[in-house]
């Protein structure tokens, strides 16, 4: 019997971040309403950061923790992203190169909005379960950034769309999936998936996003319910509260997760508001901590919530975490796995929280500089040289850390440099 699951998770939550309350005030958003959205900080991609640097910087500490022999058994590298840099060549090829992985490895990329990370994880789990290459491992890297150049024009954009700027983050989450799932022991076959065509949010043109906040929220809630009901059909005796000691949600922003949890608790368990509040604090909040500091990182968000749950949960005995993933368009899934104290101990070696604490805090002036000085590398850029000194303080804050950054684009070919 093979037990597949996650052997290690690491997060790269940005080199720089912005306090989003400061942004909300600057944009004249209603601050009382903004408080309810439960956002705190968001990672901001610098011009010399892209989905490749985020992915490599997330995976590098995991790769460094492996022996050469272990590293060479990574035979599947899937990148999961809606921030692709090329319609043909996948991000995974660059990441494979900069991580120095074995060439006997499948490299490709998958897309389904914010569901992509879960799609990657599930494909990896099935690769391990199939035992077509016993002992092989998979590296799944969900990496997404948002330059939040909102698609202009059109009536369908609701006014709530202005709230997408503070929520849109940048980040990468890397998962090592194999047969020794110390960190997250997957419940095999316990998957409720649900998808259908809906036009809620999308990236219809390079470097821009569009969407209907109401439709997206309703679809998220429909899927939250339908995926759990399907999970329940497949797994006898499941109870929304008792079966899962923690819940990790795809977190576009905290307020949405709080609303979804409240709706599920009321509908499935007829719970009253004080009971729901206590349950939210116990089971959901541990998974929201990192999400509130990085922002929505699309395909990687539910995995960021899982990493946050593992770091902030209390695992005196093995506990089951239920994960809800939703990607606009749409596809969604509810699945679960077991986390133990040993797994939490292994995870803490990656010091995810400390890395978030050590990011550079951007001033609003610096943040706006990033978009006005033509610093942004747009989709399809043929030649460019990036200025690492655009914001001088940034490099000082990450001194001593080995990081990959984009140095140059030469005839569409991206060239990166390790900086420490």
């Amino acid at each position: 019997m093979v037990y597949p699951g996650i052997e290690a998770i690491n997060v790269f939550g940005g080199t720089a971040y912005l306090d989003v309350m400061e942004l909300a005030k600057h944009r004249n958003l209603n601050t009382a309403r903004f408080e309810n959205l439960l956002m705190k900080e968001k990672a901001v991609a610098l011009p010399y950061e892209d989905p490749i640097t985020f992915g490599v910087n997330a995976a590098k500490p995991i790769i460094d923790s492996l022996s050469e022999a272990e590293k060479n058994r990574i035979e599947l590298l899937i990148t999961c992203s809606e921030s692709g840099i090329d319609f043909g060549k996948s991000i995974s090829t660059y990441i494979h190169h900069y991580l120095g992985l074995n060439r006997n490895c499948r490299l490709f990329e998958i897309k389904q909005a914010c569901y992509s990370g879960t799609a990657g994880l599930q494909m990896a789990v099935n690769f391990i379960l199939s035992q077509t290459s016993p002992g092989a491992r998979a590296l799944i890297i969900a990496t997404d950034i948002s330059r939040f150049l909102i698609a202009e024009g059109g009536d369908a954009l609701s006014e709530d769309w202005s709230y997408s700027e503070p929520s849109a983050g940048a980040g990468g989450v890397a998962l090592l999936v194999g047969e020794q799932p110390l960190v997250f022991h997957v419940d095999v076959g316990a998957n409720g998936y649900y998808g259908y065509e809906v036009m809620d949010t999308c990236r219809p043109a390079p470097d821009s996003e569009a969407g209907d906040a109401d439709l997206s929220l309703m679809s998220y809630l429909d899927c939250c319910e339908q995926t759990f009901l399907e999970y329940k059909n497949r797994v006898p005796g499941v109870h929304y509260k008792d079966t899962f000691q923690y819940l990790a949600f795809h977190t576009p922003f905290g307020g949405m997760v709080k609303g979804a949890h409240r709706t599920m608790m009321r509908k499935l368990l007829k719970a009253k508001s004080d009971e729901i509040e206590i349950d939210f604090t116990q089971r959901v909040k541990p998974g929201m901590t990192y999400c509130q500091r990085v922002g929505n990182i699309m395909g990687a968000t539910v995995l960021l919530s899982l990493a946050s749950t593992i770091d902030h949960g209390y695992f005196d005995t093995p506990k089951r975490v239920g994960c809800f993933s939703y990607g606009s368009g749409c596809c969604s899934e509810f699945y679960s796995g077991i986390v133990t104290a040993q797994g939490q101990e292994r995870q803490r070696k990656f010091r995810i929280e400390q890395h978030l604490n050590e990011r550079y805090r951007l001033s609003l002036g610096e943040y706006e500089t990033l978009f006005t000085d033509n610093g942004t590398v747009r989709f399809g850029t043929r030649n460019a040289r990036l200025d690492f000194q655009l914001i001088p303080g940034v490099f000082a804050s990450s001194s001593g850390k080995q990081r990959l950054y984009l140095e140059e684009i030469s005839e569409f070919h991206r060239k990166y440099r390790w900086i420490s």
């Binding site: 309403r33 309810n36 959205l37 609701s158 006014e159 709530d160 809906v198 209907d212 906040a213 109401d214 439709l215 929220l217 309703m218 679809s219 809630l221 429909d222 307020g255 949405m256 709080k258 609303g259 409240r262 709706t263 009321r266 509908k267």
Partner: protein, 82 residues
């Protein structure tokens, strides 16, 4: 259930989510967004109205309505075909 009763369920539920509207005199032309409901509030109101009416339909089928009157009409139509 007639249309007026559906409207009353919508009003009661909206007041439950937004207690500040206790004194507000609701009309068919009211828009939830103008009454101070953000997108999370609106989704919550829709979810609770569906529960209160014991209607089991996808929420996304109710996103095209423009005001409380249209919401009432849409819900009433769903109840007739339920």
């Amino acid at each position: 259930m007639n249309k007026q009763e559906v409207f009353e369920v919508v009003v009661r539920t909206t007041r439950e989510v937004l207690p500040d509207l206790e004194e507000h005199n609701f009309t068919f032309n009211d828009r939830l967004v103008d009454l101070g409901a953000d997108s999370v509030d609106r989704a919550e109101i829709i979810s609770m109205v569906l529960e209160n009416l014991s209607l089991s339909i996808p929420r996304v089928e109710l996103t095209s309505v423009k005001n409380i009157g249209e919401l009432t009409e849409a819900l009433y139509a769903k109840l007739q075909s339920a």
